[in-house]
Assembly symmetry: C2
Homo-oligomer: 402 residues x 2
């Protein structure tokens, strides 16, 4: 027999962690990091086995969360709210303003969705962490229009391995040996799956990431990044809808930099790629990450503009398509495409896979999955059919606006 | 901006490959390696874009497959059928006898399933590879009893990176620098999902793995391993069914070694572990891997016995449960458990994840997924309910037979 370390399934799966997340970029790339980093829930297990709360320190980068009955006015640490003289400690710090923005976006998007749904209401879960940070998960399930809609915000204070920080520094002469680097991350993340197969799924996520200056390496820089995006995943193509959606994204981008839309549109097509199918999850939108080579205030405004564009980009499409009559065949095709959504999220999405490996709050991580999905063996749409046209556009991304 | 290598999503996901599969054990551990290693199908894309056949050499360890209209009498290379004096080249070599065994098992299991289904018939896809090897995929979909049943055999001639071979050798003094190691793998793999929520899903997989002696390292040993297992995944517990299933597994094990059942039962509970849920996929069975520290003939007989035990372990349970009346609530719970099945297979199962990363035949890899699955936000069964009992047994594995 081989040594246990080589043959044990569990050792093999945990050992990938330090290898896979060995660069800071991998951390900041996580499309739903702020959403998902949390703690495995223990309430379920406590009814079964009092001693089964297994916290694996090696795979946990942040503290365990505790449920809250009320939303706090902020998830920032007190020191981040006061005025210690540090830039991050002012009420108008980027941290504070980003948190305010994502919470306002959560409120406005949830209100708009409840309004268009007419029947469904969001259920809310709030949690915090002893050392600061926390989150609000809101889910509307089985409404009149929406099958499942999750809109989450989260604020995380964590610590990353020093290798991650070192790997991301442009020049590393190997002289410095920093210890673990504290980081701050905040974000809003949402996936909205409607019932009607002609009404598209939308996903958006906007996040901000900062490292503290390492205490044992005087002079090493504090770093910050913005990331995010909004993308559309229909089961059927209505060109007007897709053009409208992309136009709103382009409009938000063009207010800041003419290069943003083409660059972030392509980044989106590249990111939401289901490699084993050689197709994209949907029809794209915009996606950006590790963005720090522009003015910080400009990028904060840009993120805010993008997040505020979700409602005008998406709600008019839902209004138009939510009551379109459909057949069982249309529904089955939507369910097959939902299967692709599951494949992308569980296999490739870095926020999801990272959250699952690090003990994030599972229900928040997996709220992105549709209520139901389907896998048929070797399903091939008839060439030229509406289903085929969607698949073709997922395989060969198009320019929707000129 | 960070260097592209750090920020590009695709580079990040492909770079994990050599890290994650850096030991031979990781390769031989793959629960459906022989099933899944293949090639991305190109037929779909060829109708869309003639130049879109993108074979990424870095993630391909075996040749592209070609569809066949008829089953060949063997997938072995001609040199493996003849008599070159090498042990592997005799008609009664372990390679040849293992292939014969798995093809007989495929035939008998498919016949038994069609018989109990009454209506559904298996659809067959056959493929081969120019340099030897190939496979037969059989799928019964939307039958009277079975929602989706896949039974596949596959024979693979591949090449593994030398690091994999070196890492798996018990003593590596670092003096030898072998080149890539040719390997042979063959296996039968199957997942059977019935429609009735009281009728359990079963999975089985039996595989044999051999390396050639490395040509540039005279004297380095040829290696071989057996792996496999059979496990049951019900949505509801009928103790009699679970006891019957485990008894048949134990019976097969006990014919060979009294230590096998307890050891392989625990291995199964450990392997089919959904870490992010802290629960097992189902109620287990047996699982073993990297098995080479017994007589090779004994292990061939043992694998054969296990594979032949699938029908007596499973079919009587299906006969008993296939027509049990059920409600929409029972069906919804089955669908939620199917969601867990999808989570395990896409996130943890090494055969699936390896197959997806290496360009395996996608439809064969993902035939293990159920026809449909469901994810409800924060679903918690009522304590003491039948659903809770199943979940409890998945969280706290039980000894089903004394």
């Amino acid at each position: 027999m081989l040594p246990a370390i080589l043959s044990s399934p569990s050792s093999s799966s945990t050992s990938t962690f330090p290898l896979r997340y060995s660069s800071l970029s991998s951390l900041t790339n996580l499309s739903s990091l702020p959403l998902t980093i949390g703690c495995r829930r223990t309430s379920k297990k406590s009814t079964h086995n009092n001693c089964s709360i297994r916290v694996q320190a090696s795979s946990r980068m942040i503290e365990k969360e505790t449920p809250e009955t009320e939303r706090p006015h902020t998830f920032l640490r007190e020191s981040d709210e006061g005025s210690s003289g540090d830039d991050s400690s002012k009420p108008n710090s980027v941290r504070a303003r980003f948190e305010k923005m994502i919470r306002e976006v959560q409120d406005s998007v949830c209100a708009a969705l409840e309004d268009v749904d007419g029947g469904g209401k969001f259920k809310e879960d709030v949690w915090s962490r002893p050392g600061g940070g926390g989150g609000i998960s809101r889910v509307l399930q089985d409404g009149d229009v929406f099958e499942k809609a999750g809109v989450n915000v989260s604020v995380v204070y964590g610590v990353m391995p020093p290798e991650a920080y070192r790997a991301a520094r442009p020049v590393d002469n190997g002289d410095t040996k920093p210890g673990p680097i504290p980081f701050f991350a905040a974000g809003v993340s949402s996936v909205i799956h409607p019932k009607n197969p002609f009404a598209p799924t939308v996903h958006f996520n906007y996040r901000y990431f900062e490292t503290d200056a390492p205490k044992d390496t005087p002079g090493a820089p504090r770093q910050w990044w913005f990331g995010g995006g909004t993308d559309l995943t229909p089961a059927y193509i209505f060109e007007d809808d897709v053009k409208h959606f992309h136009s709103v994204q382009k409009g938000a981008c063009d207010k800041f930099d003419a290069s943003f839309y083409p660059r972030f549109k392509k980044w989106c097509d590249d990111y939401f790629y289901i490699k084993h199918r050689d197709e994209r999850r949907g029809l794209g939108g915009i996606f950006f990450d590790d963005l720090n080579d522009y003015d910080q205030e400009m990028l904060l405004s840009f993120s805010t503009e993008c997040a505020n564009s979700v409602i005008p980009a998406y709600i008019p499409i839902i209004e138009k398509r939510k009551d379109t009559p459909f057949t069982d065949e249309h529904k089955a095709w939507q369910q097959l495409r939902r299967g692709r959504y599951v494949e992308f999220n569980l296999v490739y999405d870095r926020g999801t896979t990272f959250g699952l490996k690090t003990g994030g709050r599972i229900e928040s991580i997996l709220v992105s999955l549709p209520l139901s999905a389907r896998w048929e063996y070797d399903h091939q749409p008839v060439e030229g059919s509406e289903e085929w046209k969607l698949l073709d556009a997922c395989i060969n991304p198009k320019e929707w606006i000129c």
